[in-house]
């Protein structure tokens, strides 16, 4: 993969309604980290994960000339990167399109982002930032990257999720509120404790909120509200197992509860944070942050994680390649793999994407 060329290619897949990567300062980041290796499956620079995470705060990122890294999975040539975008337009176009950053890949990408550590600051960003600061390598946070991707909402998690939701409802960007770039940084910390910010993006955990299934689609099935919310398919939940290397047990997520990769990413982030950071559940705010940061630093030197899924054919693919609907139609299970394990997946994803494009 030619990293440099990938960085310039930005594929804007509007018609699928999902976000193409935004690679803003890939170049700069790349330059900052010459030892970036082709970690991600696309052979992209490692910024991808950071990219996704930063997407919501693209504006910030861009401001700081953080590479937004295109990373995220995208259609098109592997290693292709979106060209640098103007933050505002990036954000709005992304939102307009209802696109959400695809799953970030490796932490290494985060490493790339180290050039603008502060940026990442909001919420997960905060952790990310710290990590970045202390990390000179590409290897990024295990949980951070792909976690962050979901967070576009970080700065304003609820809103971005809302946006995501709206877009999912309309199914194709239409409703995406363009104007609401999750601008601020504070964030939603992984720990869900955010002393000065709006609550973290709601992750859809299995069985939460504790509402019986027959109640879940009342709005969707009520004739009065047909125009507003119809995004929830009444076909029932689609539970897939999510496993993570090194985690003691599996989780399950209901793919139908999400409409974009970003939402899924946020949810998984919440779920698996505890495996990388420590005890689950909410902790005292500061205590948790400290814990997170130190643990994160410890993890920095480990390899990053990638989100992959097993499709109907039994192949393990990287998440984010295909439009969301296609993804949930073919996804059988999810796995958060170590980045190093995922490298082998690259060719396939590439091929499949090549076939598509």
């Amino acid at each position: 993969m030619d990293l440099l060329s990938s960085r310039d290619l930005f594929i804007h897949i509007n018609n699928f309604g999902y976000l193409m990567s935004v690679n803003v300062s890939m170049e700069s980041s790349f330059q900052n980290n010459p030892n970036l290796t082709e970690r991600n499956y696309l052979g992209l620079s490692d910024c991808s994960s950071v990219d996704s995470s930063n997407v919501p705060s693209i504006s910030e990122v861009n401001k700081n000339s953080l590479n937004l890294k295109a990373t995220e999975l995208r259609l098109g040539l592997p290693g292709s990167q979106s060209p640098e975008r103007d933050p505002e337009s990036t954000l709005t176009s992304a939102e307009k399109l209802g696109e959400k950053p695809l799953f970030p890949l490796l932490p290494s990408i985060d490493g790339i982002c180290s050039s603008s550590p502060k940026m990442v600051a909001s919420g997960h960003k905060r952790i990310f930032t710290d990590v970045m600061d202390s990390c000179s390598q590409v290897k990024g946070l295990p949980e951070g990257n792909w976690l962050f991707s979901g967070s576009g909402s970080e700065s304003d998690p609820s809103k971005s999720v809302a946006q995501g939701k709206l877009s999912s409802n309309s199914n194709v960007n239409g409703m995406m509120c363009s104007g609401d770039p999750p601008a601020n940084g504070t964030t939603t910390n992984l720990s869900k404790v955010n002393t000065s910010n709006p609550p973290a993006a709601k992750a859809q955990v299995v069985g939460w909120p504790p509402v019986r299934s027959f109640r879940k689609n009342i709005l969707a099935t009520n004739s009065k509200n047909n125009g507003e919310v119809d995004g929830k398919p009444s076909s029932g939940a689609l539970f897939v197992k999510v496993s993570m290397d090194g985690a003691p047990y599996l989780r399950k997520v209901d793919l139908r509860g999400y409409s974009t990769y970003q939402q899924l990413s946020s949810a998984l982030e919440k779920m698996f944070t505890c495996f990388t950071i420590g005890p689950c559940g909410s902790q005292g705010g500061t205590g948790r942050e400290n814990l997170s940061e130190s643990k994160l630093r410890d993890l920095l030197h480990g390899s990053g994680y990638v989100l992959t899924y097993e499709d109907k054919d039994g192949d393990w693919m990287l998440v984010g390649d295909v439009p969301w609907d296609m993804f949930i139609g073919s996804c059988k299970r999810l796995k958060i793999m170590k980045g190093s394990d995922a490298i082998g997946l690259a060719p396939r994803a590439t091929e499949k994407s090549k076939n598509r494009s």
């Binding site: 609820s158 809103k159 999720v161 809302a162 995501g164 939701k165 720990s191 869900k192 404790v193 955010n194 002393t195 000065s196 709006p198 609550p199 973290a200 993006a201 709601k202 992750a203 859809q204 955990v205 299995v206 069985g207 939460w208 909120p209 504790p210 509402v211 019986r212 299934s213 027959f214 109640r215 879940k216 009342i218 709005l219 969707a220 009520n222 004739s223 009065k224 509200n225 919310v229 929830k232 939940a237 539970f239 197992k241 496993s243 985690a247 003691p248 047990y249 599996l250 989780r251 399950k252 209901d254 509860g257 919440k270 005890p279 689950c280 559940g281 909410s282 902790q283 005292g284 705010g285």
Partner: protein, 611 residues
Amino acid sequence: MFHYWFLSSCKSISYGSRVKFHTRMDLNQKRARSVDPDLVSPESTTSPFPDEVLEPVLSLIDSHKDRSSVSLVCKDWYHAERWSRRHVFIGNCYSVSPEIVAGRFPKIRSVTLKGKPRFSDFNLVPEDWGADVYPWLSVLAKAYPFLEELRLKRMAVSDDSLRFLATNFHEFKALSLLSCDGFSTDGLKAIATHCKNLTELDIQENGIDDIGGDWLSCFPESLTSLQVLNFASLNSEVSFNALEKLVARCKSLRVLKVNRNINLDQLQKLLLRAPQLTELGTGTFTQDLVTRPVADLETTFGYCKNLLTLSGLWDSNSLYLPVINPACASLTFLNLSCATLLSFELTMLLMNCKSLRRLWVLDTVGDRGLEAVGSWCPLLEELRVFPADPFEQEEVAGVTESGLVSVSRGCPNLHYVLYFCHQMTNAAVATVVQNCPGFTHFRLCIMNPGQPDYQTNEPMDEAFGAVVRTCPKLQRLAVSGLLTDLTFEYIGKYAKNLEILSVAFAGSSDLGLKYVLGGCPRLRKLEIRDCPFGNAALLSGLTKYESMRSLWMSACNLTMNGCRVLAKEMPRLNVEVMKDEDSEDSQAHKVYIYRTVAGPRRDAPPFVLTL
């Protein structure tokens, strides 16, 4: 030496573990008055309470808790009680075997059976976990061929089981299935066809395979005994003709809850046939083509003078909702949880509902709607606010803390609340419980896990501290939001009457669970998910679990070893771990612990390990 207590005093007997007592009894004992001289005082032979007196007196006691107390007084009373018991309540189908039940109670006519842990409602229990009703039915068929009532909750019920039930119990009258799964409408066909004396068919919220609505047409023309018919949760259309005829010939029908396919015109016809109804669940409450004036329907509602409960009301809006006004004044329970009403619609409705005791609504009514509740329903005792869109990310929608506060101000008798919201503050909860100190059930769900007080950003510890301190009668508590161990310290210390506790995404360390297990003397059911409680906490409750029905812990920090230690120390508990394929062998991801006299499950699927 035993003393004979008067009947009234037996209620105040506090008894120890029922488990111990059952295992010691010889279940084949005859109905003798003085069987064991060591246990019974010499005076028993000239007891002032001969069986002929005792049994009829005891037969007046309905509460199963009281009956358990009675049975522990002495052997005579134990036998008198077992012979006079007509209804048995089994809260956990695995805590006892059907053979033991049949052996102890010879004359049962009604059985209530509960199976899966409550979190199975939220998909936390894998399919095929168990709680199959069939093994029970086959024993019950032999022991109680004249069984009349069966009420099942969270059991796995197959069509074969329903067919078996319909054909083996010739006096069968009442079937109630709540949250069960595994059956289809074919099973209902069997019930409708064969149960000649059916008085009750109550199908609620089940995982049912709805193949078609023709089950209803299987009720024979000769069936006139139906009193309760609830098929609101079924999706397929039934034959309206068959339904109308059924309603017309069942003069004792008092509860009718139809499904959404029944339209307003059809509803009107049904109401004209059954003005005596006390509970009505409507179908869809709007229509495109109006064939009769709305006023007609309103008049018809006026004929239903006995209506106490109203539910259904799908798709209702301000055009049609007013037709129920004539019935509103006497309503005591209004279930609007299927109707996406806005605040003004609810307000208009509630202005007429002065007698309301129980109200279920969706959060589409907003805080404004809840203000109306506080203003117009002073007798309200129970409020449930469900999220119309549980995964709604937009914070603006739904209800907030101020809605709950307004209700508490206007409704001093409020003692049951189930409230789903996006934000809450410690101060608001404290105000609510000050206004309504009589809470027995306080279930608060702040939908974003681990969310702090949104105004102060502090944990919600003080909110629940206020609840347990201010409400001495609290029996059931569900906590949410950002909570540290302090919440549990409060609970353990103050919640003396707490019986059911639900915890999710809360706590900071083992201490949290230790506080609860060290306090809460009346705790029966504890369900925990996604909390940082580990083995030390689990084992601190060693002696408590036999006095509880069950403990559920999932996604906590338990390991297999910890569970093994518990299992070893407490042989009368079943310590079951549910394994996920890829989970590490050492972690115990889902643990379900319950007391039992039936020993380890014999029907456990491969993923359930009994330690």
